[in-house]
Symmetry: C2
Subunit: 269 residues, 2 copies
């Protein structure tokens, strides 16, 4: 397909019903100890109040010095793991899907070997919600604007092929848009709809940032209605409580545990 003609401006009467998302280039490599807001300062000069700044977790981790030797990868996964959810053998070893210390259910606990220097892997930020809050405050200090910040990471899902970006950290954002109590277009109460706005923003930003493109940051304009004056709840509220989690174990793991218990129950009779 031919590229988008720069002059092709959509005609939209209502500014509430449009989004712009862009990913600036020119961001250099981020290193241990860097102040992210300073590194990003030159590409964030046109931020306005109500923008959402989406930052790939990778550069947050790098600034926080979360890079370790690749030889320690399996141990790092173990260290980041709170609970093993499911495992599967593959030709190169064992895939571990685990709950990590952030409550995220992820393959390899979110320990990442792409886009890092040879011989290294990258751990997730220590506390991505805190990282988001710090970056939000620093952006306000430097640029004088009130924005929301989302820290995004790439994750697999149950039942569906392909990865999508999700929000693992957030500040200044209504992470969940709770429509319960509102009404639909027929005037009936919406009873179950809570939208994971932060995850949808992370996914939208990934479409622009892409992978391996040297564009680790995206700005989303048009969602001011979801941007808060305070730091808000953070992305941790996206993690489902254990008692609401119907997929707390892989099917094979749950079956095996049941089998052992069922056999044991007979022995105890």
């Amino acid at each position: 397909m031919s590229p988008v003609p720069p002059s092709a401006e959509p005609v939209v009467s209502d500014p509430e019903a449009q989004l712009r998302i862009w990913a600036p280039s020119g961001i250099g490599e981020v290193c241990d100890g860097d102040d992210l807001a300073e590194v990003l300062a030159t590409v964030l000069t046109d931020l306005v109040d109500g923008d959402v700044l989406v930052v790939t977790s990778k550069i947050v981790s790098k600034a926080e010095g979360r890079m370790i030797a690749a030889a320690d990868r399996e141990q790092a996964i173990t260290d980041e793991t709170v609970r093993v959810v499911a495992t599967r053998e593959h030709p190169g070893g064992v895939l571990r899907i685990v709950e990590n210390r952030l409550g995220l259910v992820m393959a390899a606990a979110g320990v990442d070997a792409s886009n890092t220097p040879d011989g290294t892997v990258l751990l997730l930020p220590v506390d991505p919600d805190a990282s988001a809050r710090r970056l939000r405050a620093a952006v306000r200090g430097i640029h004088g604007v009130s924005v929301a910040v989302v820290v995004s990471d790439t994750s697999g899902r149950a039942w569906r092929n392909g990865l999508t970006d999700i929000a693992i950290g957030a500040a200044g954002l209504a992470v969940l848009d709770d429509l319960r109590g509102g009404t639909d277009s027929h005037g009936r109460e919406l009873t179950v709809t809570v939208t994971a706005v932060a995850d949808e923003i992370a996914a939208a930003a990934e479409l622009v940032k892409g992978k391996a493109t040297g564009r680790p940051v995206a700005i989303v304009r048009g969602l001011a209605k979801h941007v808060l004056d305070d730091d808000g709840p953070g992305a941790r509220v996206l993690v489902r409580d254990p008692d609401q989690d119907m997929f707390r174990e892989g099917s094979a793991e749950a079956y095996a545990r049941g089998w052992a218990d069922g056999r044991g129950a007979v022995a105890a009779d």
Copy 2:
């Protein structure tokens, strides 16, 4: 937060690294037998080659006459179900998470009671990939442009709170962006990254369409690189194969089956 000033145009040098998404108003109620492309014709006049048109499944279903009496809801869920994945009792009845005939794992099989007239519920389109192909062809015929079409629906996820929109139908789109074999910014091969572009597009569009707003369609401009000359694979390829699915049963269901089998194994000894 104050609304976005209309003059706040981002400065982006590379048109490949920006997206615009908008949701036109003025689309009337869709009824059984309507030709969707005709209903949408007046709001799609500024489409250009390479745009992605995201259509809420609800209006596709309505045009296809998939509305049934609400009294038949439980039977409809049963009819749409290929396989029960997990169930949970709640005060109002039993929540059924099932694989439906489209391969989608969804609560209530995707049978929807919101935004429908009183006393009715809505089934998913018969074949959303086919619906997307038909709409794509009709848009080309009316407007003379080659676009991709995504049919989106709202779905829950394992492990995470809140719903996001996903792609249940697609035409003219590289639904999965397979980066395997490419290289990262350090020149190393990307081995595992397949991005679910269609799901990310559905999620991005939801941010603009929202719920209950009378804006069931969004146009995404800036993803021409993912738009195909042919119809492409369709959203069905997003459904994980059973032998790759580690969460084929709910944990409680798998455990119970294991328990019965373990107990039975002893009896057979």
